[in-house]
Assembly symmetry: D2
Homo-oligomer: 351 residues x 4
């Protein structure tokens, strides 16, 4: 850490006018060791934060500026909340002394070919990709601690991998029969003005989208495959529904090696016993997204299916917190040597 | 039909103060051949309909009365929209000249033992059960035409069976690997005042419920087993979400006998080609519940999965219309010799 | 009417890809005497209706086309549901044999100066403006019957004028103390992709907008002033809230000439006694927007205030039906000699 | 303060199973100087908090107990979040060493006759009423500091009085022409299971309720009358709408003594210049409830009306925070000598 007057870590947020940017600011405003020194937002450059996020108007934070006008030399860490596509080039230009948490998808796939296939163009910073650490904190904690560049996981992949990876590592589930049916709130789709995201197009209904072709599928598969030691292909079917925040992933698995639902539960309870943010809910309890709204918590439920040999895993998170900005801060805490939970103690807002 | 002054079919609605009762009245008010002669509602007996449903206050319909005070002799058909449990005894006491569509679960399970197991008590009208016809119209049309007592299907079972039964009959899917992940609006849970159904407990969130023990599972399995000619057990996981109307069932199947997603699509298109209310949407289109809101339509989408050998079926309906009152009227039309679509021409209300 | 094969009135809808366009199609599909012969939608020209409104995909209606490619000679009536601004020029070019209902604001203000002031440019069809009839049906029925061009009222103005005009005509309220606090669903803001209309910007909240400068204020004032015989200025404060359809106008008035709340109620009951679509609800009942959703009904409540000398009027409508497309059809029925309620018998969809 | 091991203030919450109780726990869990030592909930007595509020299941707080079983001797402060009616008797029995913040309406009206009239029965603790201080913090700060028993204001009254009292004190508005049109989220109606509060009865609509007879009217009038030095009667019309949290009060006033909208704005800006939780938003900005969701902030907008001589005040709050539990903690902080903002630094959760 460079020295600075306040002895706080000096942070910049690139892309502060989107939802994950606002969420970073909301959470960091409660963080005792962070000073927000730079906020960028190209469309709103020159304007105070309150013009794009009135709920944050009273915060003492810098005016929004263009990335190109930013002075990165006086920062310690950067959160990059830019849209997919521009991120690789932006991060490639940042000074090497910075620790970076990237919330986009640009550095999540280790395999450059897979990246090119799913994103439609060659990776623009292949060298940087090599040093990127996938920041699913509870799974990759050790690597995150030593990382300079963390690729913060996607919202869906976080909710899918946290319940599945321990079970794969324990060899308790069939690797070729994993179905992930996810339901997401609308903030997961971002803040861009699109007809299909208008209130009247979204309220009072539900639909699947990106069926069999959503870009989070390869990200999920990368994590599961690493845990399994061999390639895994999953069914991943996301749905959009009328809520702001929250993802519920309902995951259907088949037992392997004689495991039972009780075994799966025991594995997950053991894995997450010491974790501050991941909890296995009691038997018979069905976790609800509204019970993690605004918090960094993840709740996991385990049910035996009526179909012999099968179990149902239910996992909820707030897509903007554990699914994005909260996990980003959790990772930043690790990268800078702070206690992992610093600034993330807020309880869920219910109702 | 008995003679009557207006030459209209004289209908009674038992349980007119619940949501399916109101929906019957809404739809029947547009039906050219029905006269609503009797409405019962025990708690609101003696009061006009507008006191329980202000949106229907201007209709010229009878005042609500107690069932015990009703004169059934002058009716032709009865819709029974009573809660589960009381229905068997009520229907057993009705005059034999009446044609009856029962919207409760009381006559849906042919197997009396299964009924006793899932509903916790012995069937109270086992003789009547023998003559009950399961009213999934597009599948059981012939039987419905000749029926005196129709057990109208449950909302979830309608959305699950319509896509699955033709594929089972065509032997195109694996009978032992069927996963049904359903998302329902809140009217499916009825109008009883319960804490867990309050606006603030339900809005802005989603959760699964009745996991691995919902009573619609045996109903679905009964229909699929009949189509297969052998017992089938399915995974059925219902979820409650913040919308009034609509069910989306996302169904995950494995191919059998070398079938492909295109084969499944062709089978469903062939099956429903002549149907007024069931449509297979074009390839790549994901059906949305909001596109059938208020109508008797069912939309089915078919997608090949990325996982080799698997497909995804998406089926949407309005749980109060095709999932309850609309299908009840469709059945009544058949039972009384009217064109099947009479009174059901309303388009979906979107947005 | 020109002759045509089906003996139906041949209608065109200009701007069929917006919400009022879709609502016209939904309602006209149930109209026994209308044949939809032309649908325009410039951005979606060449595509079937189902691509912009999947819920209407099964209707047998023409493919969308550009206005410039339309043949108006074979039509009898045109509904114009175009955005403000382009409408005057489009309508000015239409053949004179057509009867036209314009749902935009372009012909609503009789005073060309007022138009120029509020809309920021000179009127582009001042001659046509002279023959335009303001289509608040219950108030202007006689003029509508003889009209060739009807300016269909705005959604807010309909909900404000229906309760106020009879009271002004009866000289029962103070003309200089009228406060109209309106709450609207989001479809009132149209289907354009704007950030402030995204689900996540609108759900779970409410805010006023256009405070003291909304363009519906002069429209309301025009109608009230005509009823009063002298200029009236009102407070009109609209709010946007998370629902699709519905407007509730809560109107605060002061008595004049010794009138009481009972007098106001009696006046409104008398005025609307024979109306099919406007009802005064019983004393003590508070009308709810959800009780008119999808229908052409308007409900009005009247309450004495605790503040001596004041009353509260509550008026609800569906902004897309009585506030737009329903009233447009009601007017078209009158213009073409059909019974006024034809095709508008659908009951509200609740819940 | 009594001594205690942790040197923290030991707090009890009576009525912890309702929404204001949960909100107290959510906020106090972040409060550095409070230890929650007692939670009561008669229906759920003996159960852990997580059974009534799963989102708080991981907190280290006492199991719920019956009030009658509680030991109050080891507490310093009590928050009373019981339903109206039982509160007076409960508080009358509490030991005198306790500082009490009562969130019910039981001690808000100073006038025992007014209480009896509006609540339908004589006050059950008239002696205690004499020492109760009305806890509208920014207005009654000095009295709150010295209080033993604070009557925490109602949600609507907070949103109405904060903008109005300074203007009345400044003699800038007409005392006999105040109209308060309030829109509230559903948590304001509590957690009791009632049909009219079900999701399907509330979503997708709005309606007024308690028109001209809501019990918050006399509470508002008491505060305004005190500021004016003479009795004031106001129009207060509350509405219920489909959101969880938030109140927007749109207040219509007439100028007095030649004041202008700019004068009103200046008065409010001056009054609240040093306040942590109340802000006047910039000219032209319309405050939205979603911008204070979950926070203790109040935003006030001021607009000149088009009607000469009138202004519009818009005031938003979170009804569960500044309108209930947040303000209760703010008051407790003052009563116990802590900095007023302690534990209340959380930003709004948007979206």
């Amino acid at each position: 850490m460079n020295a600075n007057q306040s002895n706080k870590i000096r942070a910049g947020i690139l892309g502060a006018s989107g939802y994950t940017g606002a969420e970073l600011i909301r959470l960091l405003s409660q963080h005792p060791h962070i000073e927000m020194k730079l906020l960028t937002g190209d469309r709103a450059a020159g304007k105070p934060l309150g013009t794009v996020f009135p709920h944050l108007a009273h915060l003492k934070v810098p005016t929004l500026m263009k990335i190109d006008d930013a002075d990165f030399s006086s920062l310690d860490v950067v959160f990059c909340a830019l849209p997919h596509g521009t991120t690789q080039e932006v991060i490639a230009r940042l000074p090497r002394h910075l620790k970076i948490v990237d919330l986009s998808a640009d550095f999540r796939l280790y395999d450059l070919d897979a990246y090119a296939k799913w994103y439609g163009h060659a990776h623009k910073a292949p060298e940087l990709q090599k040093e990127a650490v996938y920041g699913l904190t509870e799974i990759e904690r050790k690597a995150v601690k030593g990382a300079r560049l963390v690729a913060n996981p996607g919202c869906y992949p976080t909710s899918a991998q946290l319940p599945l990876i321990p079970l794969i590592e324990a060899k308790q589930i069939d690797l070729d029969d994993i179905i992930i049916d996810s339901k997401s709130g609308m903030t997961g789709a971002g803040r861009a003005a699109k007809e299909e995201m208008l209130f009247s197009e979204v309220s009072e209904g539900i639909h699947a989208y990106g069926v069999a072709k959503h870009r989070h599928a390869p990200e999920i598969e990368q994590g599961l495959s690493k845990a399994a030691g061999r390639p895994i292909v999953v069914n991943f079917t996301p749905h959009l529904m009328p809520m702001n925040r929250g993802i519920l992933s309902s995951i259907y698995v088949r037992f392997a090696n004689g495991a039972t639902a009780a075994d799966l539960r025991a594995t997950l309870e053991r894995k997450y016993a010491g974790e501050a943010f991941v909890r296995v809910v009691p038997e018979g309890v069905s976790p609800a997204t509204r019970h993690v709204r605004g918090s960094n918590h993840v709740l996991i439920g385990v049910f035996a299916d009526r179909v012999p040999g099968r179990a149902i895993l239910l996992c909820v998170e707030d897509n903007l917190v554990k699914g994005a900005s909260g996990q980003a801060i959790q990772n930043m805490n690790l990268m800078t040597g702070l206690p992992e939970t610093t600034g993330l103690a807020q309880e869920a807002l219910f109702p």
